[in-house]
Symmetry: C2
Subunit: 597 residues, 2 copies
């Protein structure tokens, strides 16, 4: 009977628009929590937004624009209660890289390309969400992501160092930047460098030691927290005041200058298809990286309160956020790690905190921008350097080296290609290398000859344990699903064993770790059975899993198989070699124990 079509219920609608579920239960206590969290996040976001916009090669106010509409849209569509969406370091760098070939930083065309990139990225995320393609992001392995983020952070830090030191350096790769900085060592602009390095030092100090100090001075925990989070704001205010007071901007210290005041502009992406084609790959990479970063933050925070986020819905929410950025003069955004953690720690209960944060940023865009005139660019660069250096995780090299060489290889390739060639190449190289290594590993399955552990019904690897082996019987355990790339390896292994053992009469494959057998592997099994039969040897299977057995039963393989399929490996031995087994169970002098190798 076909089920009746029904209208989507409110529950279904709520699963698409989470705001419907939390909005109905909103009360005063939640409001207070959300407002406090919003205030703290706003204080943190203002300098970050300005800095990341300049990292992306855009005017600082664009960073504010990109932190308003996206936050509102995420509050409507997002499944995380606490994720804070906006410009983040790595995506800003990827944006700068993607636009760099198409326009000059600072030009109106550059901004239009940024808007188009946000539009394309938003459309892709939305499409991936609707088509439930969130799993594609899993092909970015953790080692590749770690290597990529570490390399990006180093790349960003090296790029910002030239702003902090007040020198001009050409070059895009990390090595070019570092070499350029070394060469330009004598042309450092002293005032800028002192200002910039002092800001870096202050920000590092503020992050580690300001809150403990304030607590020691007797401030309340919450106030101390807010003031400590305001460290970057203080840095901006103090350096701007110093610059104004000492007229450093007339002595060559580059400042932010005039920042327009007002609402975010309504904007449209370019509809130049040739541009779309060229931006397609960067937009896809930005989408995937943004999605992966956002989802892992969201999942970590949701789990702490036994909540859950839905990756495919998150794609829709991030897509909407980026489309929002595209139509309000912004650039690609995603859920940021630091700001989301701050939001969570500050007690945000619902996405309404994001709405209030957007309100705070809007107030900044409306009223605060004239105060930004004297902010030195070196201060913004210092903010970025301190933020990104916390992303550097070179220990991943040691950890993956100790754990698995294939993961280490993926990290090294991603790291080196990102540093040496660029973010897009690094990401693509990392994905390809990790896929190739995975395929390589599965194409060489671990196949162990097993023997009976005396006194038990267990079978273990003859190379690792002292076990009983019957020379007329070969027991092989295959530790991998059988598919086209490793089917031949099994054939080779059995061919080898048969050629080496003239007495062999039976081969039993223990299939407990075989989760799937594809058509190629089935043909290999048929070929193995046929070859063994030609050589007068019988092939048996044991411990075949339910789903694999279901599938084998649709074929003629089991009907043609001369041997049997045993429920357990011990049953197989008990039936095929009862006399030998009796001898082993009651050990005699002639038992066959292979030497440990």
């Amino acid at each position: 009977m076909a089920p009746r079509m029904s209208w989507p219920s409110l529950a279904t609608a709520a699963s698409y628009l989470p705001i419907l579920s939390w909005g109905r239960r909103y009360d005063r206590a939640t409001l207070v929590s959300d407002l406090v969290a919003a205030m703290i996040v706003t204080i943190m976001l203002i300098p970050q937004s300005l800095a990341y916009a300049s990292l992306a090669g855009l005017p600082p106010e664009v960073g504010l624009y990109a932190s308003i509409a996206p936050l509102l849209l995420y509050a409507v569509f997002g499944t995380s209660r606490v994720l804070a969406v906006g410009p983040v370091a790595v995506v800003s760098l990827m944006t700068a890289t993607a636009i760099g070939d198409h326009a000059v930083a600072g030009s109106p065309e550059y901004w239009t390309v940024a808007i188009t990139l946000a539009f394309l990225s938003g459309a892709m995320l939305l499409l991936m969400g609707v088509l439930r393609l969130g799993f594609l992001a899993s092909f970015l392995s953790h080692p590749v992501i770690s290597g990529f983020i570490t390399a990006s952070a180093l790349l960003i830090a090296a790029g910002q160092l030239k702003v902090i030191l007040g020198v001009k350096v050409e070059g895009h790769s990390f090595f070019e930047l570092v070499w350029g900085l070394v060469q330009q060592g004598q042309r450092i602009h002293l005032t800028t460098a002192v200002l910039g390095l002092a800001t870096v030092a202050f920000l590092f100090w503020a992050r580690r030691s300001l809150k403990p100090l304030l607590l020691k001075l007797g401030l309340g925990a919450r106030l101390a927290d807010v003031l400590a989070k305001a460290g970057p704001v203080a840095g901006i205010a103090v350096t701007a005041w110093l610059t104004w007071f000492f007229h450093w901007h007339e002595a060559g210290v580059r400042i932010v200058g005039t920042v327009p005041q007002g609402f975010p502009p309504l904007s449209l992406p370019s509809f130049d298809l040739a541009l779309w084609q060229e931006l397609a790959v960067p937009a896809l990479l930005i989408s995937v990286v943004g999605f992966v970063e956002s989802v892992s933050v969201g999942q970590t925070l949701a789990a702490k309160r036994r909540q859950r986020i839905e990756p495919d819905r998150e794609l829709v929410a991030l897509g909407a956020s980026n489309l929002g950025a595209a139509f309000t003069g912004g650039f690609p955004v995603t859920g940021g790690f630091a700001r989301s953690v701050v939001n969570f720690d500050a007690g945000a209960q619902t996405p309404a905190a994001g709405v209030f944060t957007a309100g705070g940023i809007l107030l900044a865009a409306l009223f605060l921008t004239p105060a930004l005139y004297f902010v030195p660019q070196a201060t913004l660069a210092a903010t970025i350097v301190v933020a990104v250096l916390s992303l550097v995780d070179l220990d991943i090299l040691r950890r993956t080296w100790a754990y698995a060489k294939s993961d280490f290889a993926a990290v090294v390739v991603t790291l080196l290609v990102t540093l040496g060639v660029g973010v897009e190449s690094g990401l693509v190289a990392g994905v390809l290398v990790s896929l190739a290594l995975f395929l390589f590993k599965t194409s060489r399955p671990h196949i162990a000859e097993v023997g009976l552990v005396a006194g038990t019904e267990h079978f273990r690897n003859v190379l690792r344990h002292r076990v009983h082996v019957n020379p007329a019987l070969l027991s092989l355990r295959v530790d991998e699903s059988l598919y086209f790339a490793n089917a031949r390896a099994l054939e080779d292994r059995i061919n080898e064993a048969v050629a080496l053992r003239p007495d062999l009469k039976q081969v039993i494959l223990q299939c407990s770790a075989i989760n799937d057998i594809d058509a190629s592997a089935l043909e290999s099994l048929e070929a193995i059975d046929q070859r063994l039969r030609d050589a007068g040897i019988v092939l048996h299977l044991s411990e075949v899993k339910g789903p694999v057995m279901d599938r084998l039963q649709t074929t003629a393989f089991l009907a043609h198989l001369r041997g049997q399929v045993f429920l357990t490996h011990f049953q197989a031995i008990a039936q095929l070699a009862p006399q030998w087994l009796a001898g082993v169970v009651k050990p005699t002098a002639d038992q066959h124990l292979p030497e440990a190798r």
Copy 2:
């Protein structure tokens, strides 16, 4: 203590030069067997060599040249006792496709490109053999190979049909060829068509019914066999005689014409690097297809006599054979299926049979070629059509559809792209699709919630069996190795379960089917453990395999894990929920049995 360096022993040398092992035991009985087999194979090879050369767009004598030096070299280096190397249908088609863009068929440049292709292919095979890269061929799955060979055979048959019907048809894809034949229906050259179709009919009849007829007429089995194998030779002789007698060549029947007489020429490949670059991909594809075909034939035949072939040595032998072809005016060759089976069935004992076959073909090149003048091209085309139609296996579509949709998809893509676009695109598309589908499958692992089967210590899927489940305990069995592409799926699954079950206190992962855990999956496990801990739930593992446990012990994961690692899943339940277990073992009214879904 470092082992002393020693000179390679004769055994080592024999493993590189198999001729050293079989050559020393050669006796009179073996000689007779090999000579008889060589005679039968020679009779079969002469028409095939001529036909495949013309399929490759080359003069017919080139087919003979390609069947001399390669056979000799394979006899020296090959590990199969019976493989017969020479031009084969699919590789000849791939050769024609690869050269088609660079030279006009029949021109001297065309031949030089063919020689260069054999040289590059030989060099690649040799290199792959030395680097032991034979496993790369496994990435051609059986469905892709089946689809590719079937499509190639159809493409060859359609191309030869125009020769048989005596019409001119432009176009490369199967659909263009078929459409062209339909359009040219009225321009068929009648004499050619009657001659060609009659030859096709005769060859089909000879293959099926000639031997039984000869046996019925009282001939000895061996003689009947030889005469039946000579069917194509008879077809060539009779049609050539008819053409000469009735002067059909003056009535528009196209004939082979003058074929030079003599030893194979010494030839050199082109050393034009630009040409090498363009031929690199076709040469690689030809190498891989040739290797796969050759090895699967060789393995099948070797196993029948409990012998063994070594894939990496086979690469070296095929490489040497192709280099031999390149320096003696030949074109790419490989081990052929039909001729090797005939060699085996005729009783060939050692590669010396190949040497004698090469001698037979050389005699043909020296003395037989003038007799080929009047052979109609339609007869050669008929030989090809009859040979390739036996390669068509459209039943693979039904079989893979019934067995696994992913394999079916790989066949369909390979088949359609090969027919519609060409051999190279078809092969590449097939490999990419099958890899993508494999990655897709492993990225969505089967994760079953398991429960206790009453009265046993076994745990089975709750959706398939009536089992006991404790609501405070979640038992999950993951049926896949954990790696980056599926690590997130496990996280999602556990997040979902935790969000749905407010009473959950413990999660146990049954790891019996997990053959590997990579660094991404390890981080996922750490994240899962952390999130579960934040939610007040303890994570345990059970039935972790030895190699996986070894690796986990190099990390801090096990030290941080709040839960335990149990040897068996039953032990885990016995320790974590002894009271519940006691209730289940002695069933009471309140036992929890989930409904079968």
